[in-house]
Amino acid sequence: MNSAPTLDPAPNAPLLELCNVAKRFGSRAVLQDVSLDVAAGEFLTLLGESGSGKTTLLRLIAGFERPTAGEIRMGGERLDLLPPHRRRVNTVFQSYALFPHLNVRENVGYGLRVKGIGKNETSERVEQALAMVKMQDFAGAQPARLSGGQQQRVALARALVNRPQLLLLDEPLSALDANLRKQMQSELKTLQREVGITFLFVTHDQEEAMALSDRIALLREGQLEQVASPREIYARPASAYTAQFIGQTNLLRGEIRNGIANCGVLRWPLAAADGAATFSLRPEAIRLSGDAVRRNTEVKFRAGIRQQLFAGASELLEVDAGAGQVLRVRVPPSGVLTGEHELVFSIADAVRVKES
């Protein structure tokens, strides 16, 4: 940190600022006009399908690629003009990228050695970092002898030992099997709280993004679709794309006329201007109607059960509300259901989204 008070960034200034960043490879625009602030200590996830530009964005911040346009600033200073080795940023690579000719201890100590930090301090910090990821027993091992999960931990220790201001993680868990993945997610989250370093995490797995992040930045074809906390992006998706990408949803397409929303057989009062409208209605927002009372805030409809998938903690129903309108409904385990049933959802749960 700079000690001169005039140069100190304001206490609430973002650690990382992306301003209108664009990247082209030849004629292909990979990123367009991306602007994003990352606060210090935040766990921010770049979420997107493959080809959405999330890895490219990470590589721009790490310095392996140069932006075609725009600026990247860290702590208020230009980052995109520096070569990668001068940036106070470290990366955990998807392939781990451990040096095969160095053992675990040498791998973790690499960053400190090239910066000319003394032997004693280096070995102390390396031991600490290895203990942090519970790999101290493997300090003398060659990377090739480690399992994927162990290599992952070493890669994490190798980055964290440098105490970067910002840690970039490029799909670090994608090569692990499902169980290990869940375990590493939880450890990663704990670790991030402990060290207090800003994490910029790339993944294509929306569940992972939801579980880990303070905020999610959803990328779509090189542009930011929505940036919000997991709860908000789930409850208030801005677009049909977001609603479908994050979790499951029912997209209701229809129109608003004279203060009534009409979506197929479903209709409810809505104070909005006339015109076409799309709504996202989560499967769990719909429930089997227990009481006969129909309140003003709810929409009740009859639907035939087309399919019932038992998922242990819940049941996923596919229901036909009539006129070919199929909805997915998630309800608590309720035994085998057949025939027609009364279903109900709250008007507030039908979130109006941008069509896309």
Partner: protein, 281 residues
């Protein structure tokens, strides 16, 4: 599963080949080195006389030592030329990569003899290089040390064997995953430190393989000293050649050959062990 008769049928040709063209000649060479020639007649009489003669005569050892020096120089110069070239091609050439690669390989398709004669033409008293130097008024009389000197031999052999060093070095550089280079930079190492700590160590097996090629091939070379070397740069293979030819002393020639063979085998054994130790994954 293959039947036993099929297996023996398939393994027969290579066994025959190895027996006829490797084992038999070596056995003959080894046997000859223990026989002796007296007054131009070969006696099939077992003796170590040839080996005694070999180590008693300083000329042979001197030539052997010169051969090793020349081979080492060729190896050194070939590495000096081909490593930077391979590095440039692998890491920085981008679109020009294919073309440059072909340009390095093309000389391999030209006959060794042609290349040897080419250097003779270039280096001679009335040669291209001398003509050029005089044209530029750098020299007035022809520079004579260019041709018929160990320098000429090293130059010619370096030209001939550089691709042999280039190829394995290039292959090993190409095999270094680029994310390792990025990881090094990411951890704060500049280009020089990245080269020293990551690229160079990971390319050592290829470098070693190339260096072994250049050294072993130069060690047994007899055409370059014949064409451009002159008497001051006679190499051990020339001695062997003359012993088998004009001097008609096959046993002594065979004894020298056995010594060179042992030297090369020892060297290959050593480099293989080193390569194994440096090979990762």
């Amino acid at each position: 599963m293959y039947s036993r008769s099929y297996k023996s049928l398939v393994s027969l040709p290579p066994l025959l080949w190895v027996g006829l063209f490797l084992f038999l000649p070596y056995a003959l060479m080894f046997a000859h080195s223990l026989w002796i020639v007296r007054d131009g007649v070969l006696f099939h009489q077992w003796t170590f006389e040839n080996y005694r003669k070999l180590f008693a005569n300083p000329v042979y050892l001197e030539v052997l030592w010169r051969t090793v020096r020349i081979a080492a120089s060729v190896t050194f110069c070939s590495i000096l030329l081909s490593y930077p070239l391979a590095y440039y091609l692998s890491f920085h050439a981008r679109a020009r990569k294919e073309l440059l690669y072909q340009l390095v390989i093309v000389p391999l398709w030209v006959s060794y003899l042609v290349r040897g004669y080419a250097w003779k033409t270039i280096l001679g008293s009335d040669g291209v290089l001398n003509g050029f130097l005089r044209y530029l008024h750098i020299t007035h009389a022809p520079v004579s040390f260019l041709l018929y000197s160990p320098f000429a031999v090293v130059l010619t052999l370096t030209h001939i064997y550089t691709p042999f060093v280039f190829l394995p070095v290039y292959a090993s550089l190409e095999h270094i995953p680029r994310y390792l280079v990025e990881a090094s930079q990411d951890l704060g190492a500049g280009p020089l430190a990245t080269f020293r700590r990551v690229v160079l160590p990971l390319s050592l097996p290829g470098l070693l393989a190339g260096a072994t090629f250049a050294f072993v091939l130069s060690l047994g070379d007899f055409l370059a000293p014949l064409l451009v070397g002159g008497s001051s740069s006679t190499m051990i293979a020339n001695i062997v050649q003359s012993l088998f030819g004009a001097a008609y002393d096959w046993p002594l020639g065979a004894a020298i050959s056995v010594c060179i063979l042992l030297l090369v085998v020892a060297l290959l054994f050593l480099t293989e062990r080193l390569e194994k130790r440096w090979a990762f994954r």
